[in-house]
Symmetry: none
Subunit: 539 residues, 2 copies
């Protein structure tokens, strides 16, 4: 059976930039465009040339892409010709092969927001699209507020679509601009549009996630006949975001009835890069990736329940809807107090510790994990600390060095310019190979900024560890998370530290104490020990 | 037209706890249960008694709720009677009016994961449900992997449902355990189940978000006849989470065809508490609330695009699918424009500060708030610090005292019993009425436990403030939240402190610094100043 082609239109660089707090630089836009192109989307909407400086700059340096590069704008204003509308000219001047223009289709918006007649608006749509075609551009029409407009005045809304189509639009895209339309209703309305105004092969869908159904709304539109989907990576976009292509792409490729009926420009090999691309975008945005997102989240294939975890060990299909490798993700069987012994053995095996099912140490480790978790420790995130704990119980943790004592001082006072400044100083005393070593560090970084007491402590601990020094010199503290938990009756502080080394390894450790400095130090110590273990250091 | 009743079943405390990194304490479970009850859900699934210590502890202290408190467990094992299955007994011993048991309905899982015959599994289901009924409990049956089971062996899957129903289950709940079933397919299968096995009035739906369609899947099931929805607050849950009740509830109450056809136990007044409850849960989890989530996210009604923002000022319905006030959320329009200033004046008025629209201080306050928020401050939660900032700009903050300097020392070393112990000491120097006052405190509490450096600092600051001493003697630090914002090596620490006084007032202040001790001190200072302002102290 021949599969029908679905067109994927990415608007991460335009609608995605409407996310609160997001403002891409030109360099970032180029990076994201390259990733989108490697994935295999059909259209990349690069921005609105003329509307803001980075969008204009991007189109000046616009990369060569396999995908059709598209500029975004709006239909011409009333009272002037398309050729004489300088906003529209700004869009065309970007010289992209395709141009997408948004226009009104909801009568209320035409009269209320634009303050023009319904006829003038139809003329604006028709003349603008015809102008694009005359300039030999592929023309797309984004029908703004289409679903609300359809419900208010079906005849007029469909007339707007027909006008764009007849003027030569390659795609007419139904936009649920306010994000309030539910999937069932989208399906019904798209069915009517296909029957009475625009053939499915020229019809697109653009949804927003204001009711958490943008993905489902897009899927419903495809079943009803639409053949283009507009969306963004990681669901970026105005308010609650746009339809999430990071979810839609694997669903279209892997799930029925879509996988059998349709094909896209994304192949199975490119799909394996999906998790990496999603994380890259978070990296550009300097965001911590959300763990629970579909397909690509770090928790998407994490099996916490003990019953699930033990079944997964027998057969992963028992609790997984797809193989995580298909989207470049991986399975996680975390430690938690709900996990069974089989889960535990799997976790140990991943850390290179093969333990027989009959080993009594298993029960001891489990008990210790449970006891520690009730004190506020969290081993599902801090795998490296779990490994250190297990090694201790198994007698496989060398005593590399002993911490004798430490002291941290935080002082805030006026400097010579009469400004309040802070400085922390840490002294750590360790015994390595029978030799006592005193190290002192302060919290000032190279730029003269105070980085706080934990920074000073971390530097002092790593300053002189004798023969282990080489192993820890390439270690770096990359993230530091603190939360207050209830351990027993008293509030305690939990610190999770992420470390990284020159080999690109990244590991997380945990410390818990009523005293935040102690909790941090405990996590730092585990991080150093883990690194020494992994580097094969011996006591 | 009479509306049909939909039943809402919350499993935040059970399936929600399967979220990676989530482990509720008993106190937290009680707090969440109270919030769920105020919202008006019908069932609260409190956990699996006997399976882990906090769940058992919760059921020992189980609160009286309007909602039906429900214990979760699994159907009895083969080879023993329901009465002699100690896991099932553990569940019943919690004494809840309702019990929900999960059981297999997918033939592959019966033979592969349980290793028993299909007939034995049917017997386990029937005997377990009958046992609940005999014990006069309301019985619910969670049909695990139902949709996959239906596709593999429809006859057997439906037989499992019928067995539970005939044994007396009040609700038979179709679980899409692996989260892989798309809404369209859920609708089709539920239609078949209603026609051939379980009447809609006794049928529930339990979806997971592995394809980002859990909400849409639940909505499709309701249209197909199911009358109970299971989900969690904020969509917590195993892997990608469960169906998000925080989204489903407003959709069911506000959106068609649901609003006209159905009613739930949640009324319009309770709905206005939804945003607050969602944020409370994040607070318990010490998570930064996700901004882009539907209905309750801080960005859900944020209008960034210039065209949108200006249309919103003319008429909010132009770019909003519902009025944010219906769910207790609020509109966000970029601070720079007119709407930003009127919002600001409203907030100042709430703090008792009437400011004329023409006052140039308004623009200065807005600029300062924006600059501070870009550094990591968060004035949404810390209203008292916002008030202090505004008062400074308005020239309405007396300089009660001046902090000259402080010093905190954290020391960890062996005590006389050769055990590692920690102690912190803080010195604070303030100038009050021209007089310098040195105060010193340590971190040891009455029980001899170290409470850490911030505790020592807080005690030293409040130890001697001269003529202000009486005003702050009844102040108490009741909560302390720490977050690292920005991530990576440029991380800064945000500390939010909640304080309380003898008059029952509670207020929140914020401090931000790379140095956690400084950030804490800043928040402590704001807390003291706010208290002095509110008590009418003068400089």
């Amino acid at each position: 059976m021949t599969r029908e082609r679905l067109s994927l239109y990415d608007t991460t660089l335009r609608d995605g930039q409407q996310t609160q707090g997001v403002q891409f630089s030109t360099a970032e836009k180029l990076k994201i465009a390259a990733a989108l192109d490697s994935l295999g989307v059909d259209y990349i909407e690069g921005g609105w040339p003329g509307a803001n400086p980075t969008d204009s700059a991007f189109f000046e340096e616009v990369p060569h892409t396999r995908a059709t590069m598209t500029a975004f704008g709006m239909t011409k204003r009333a009272g002037r010709s398309a050729a004489n509308d300088e906003v529209l000219s700004g869009v065309l001047n970007a010289g992209t092969p395709a141009v997408c223009l948004v226009g009104k289709t909801h009568d209320f918006h035409v009269t209320r927001a634009l303050g023009i007649t319904l006829e003038e608006n139809l003329d604006n749509i028709g003349a603008s699209i015809a102008h694009l075609v005359a300039q030999r551009r592929e023309a797309l029409f984004d029908a703004e507020h289409f679903f609300d407009g359809y419900k208010a005045n079906r005849t007029y809304a469909l007339d707007c679509l027909r006008t764009a189509l007849e003027a030569g639009a390659r795609w007419v895209v139904l936009c649920d601009t306010n994000g309030g339309t539910l999937p069932q209703e989208i399906g019904e309305i798209v069915t009517d549009v296909v029957a009475n105004a625009v053939p499915g092969a020229r019809l697109g869908i653009h949804t927003h996630n204001d009711t958490e159904t943008a993905v489902a709304g897009s899927l419903a539109a495809v079943l009803a006949g639409a053949r283009q989907i507009q969306g963004t990576l990681n669901g970026l976009g105005e308010r609650c975001g746009n339809a999430n292509l990071t979810t839609l792409i694997p669903t279209l490729l892997l799930k029925e009835p879509y996988a059998s009926r349709f094909e896209t420009g994304v192949d199975r090999e490119a799909l394996e890069g999906l998790t990496r691309i999603s994380r890259m975008l978070d990296d550009v945005l300097n965001r911590v990736p959300q763990k629970q997102v579909a397909y690509v989240g770090a928790s998407a294939f994490a099996h916490k329940a003990g019953l699930h975890a033990s079944a997964i060990l027998k057969d992963p299909t028992t609790y997984e809807h797809i193989d995580p490798a298909l989207v470049g993700n991986r399975r996680v069987v975390p430690m938690s107090n709900q996990a069974g012994q089989s889960n535990l053995r799997k976790r140990l095996a991943e850390a290179g510790l093969e333990v027989a099912p009959t080993d009594p140490a298993l029960a001891r480790i489990l008990d210790k994990v449970k006891a520690r978790e009730s004190e506020g420790y969290s081993y599902d995130t801090a795998q490296a600390s779990f490994e250190i704990l297990a090694r201790e119980e198994l007698g496989l943790l060398p005593e590399f060095f002993e911490v004798k004592r430490y002291r941290v001082t935080v002082e805030r006072r006026k400097n010579k310019y009469n400004r309040m400044v802070s400085l922390s100083e840490a002294v750590v005393v360790v015994k390595v190979d029978g030799e006592k070593k005193l190290s002192v560090s302060e919290s000032m970084d190279e730029d003269g900024n105070d980085r706080g007491p934990v920074n000073a402590l971390s530097k002092a601990l790593a300053k002189d560890l004798g023969r282990y020094q080489a192993a820890i010199d390439d270690m770096r503290l990359v993230d530091f998370k603190v939360r207050i938990t209830q351990g027993g009756t008293e509030a305690v502080t939990r610190v999770i530290i992420d470390s990284e080394d020159g080999q690109g390894r990244r590991w997380a450790t945990v410390g818990v104490s009523a005293n935040i400095v102690d909790a941090s130090f405990e996590a730092l110590l585990d991080a150093v020990r883990w690194k020494l273990v992994r580097d094969g250091a011996t006591a």
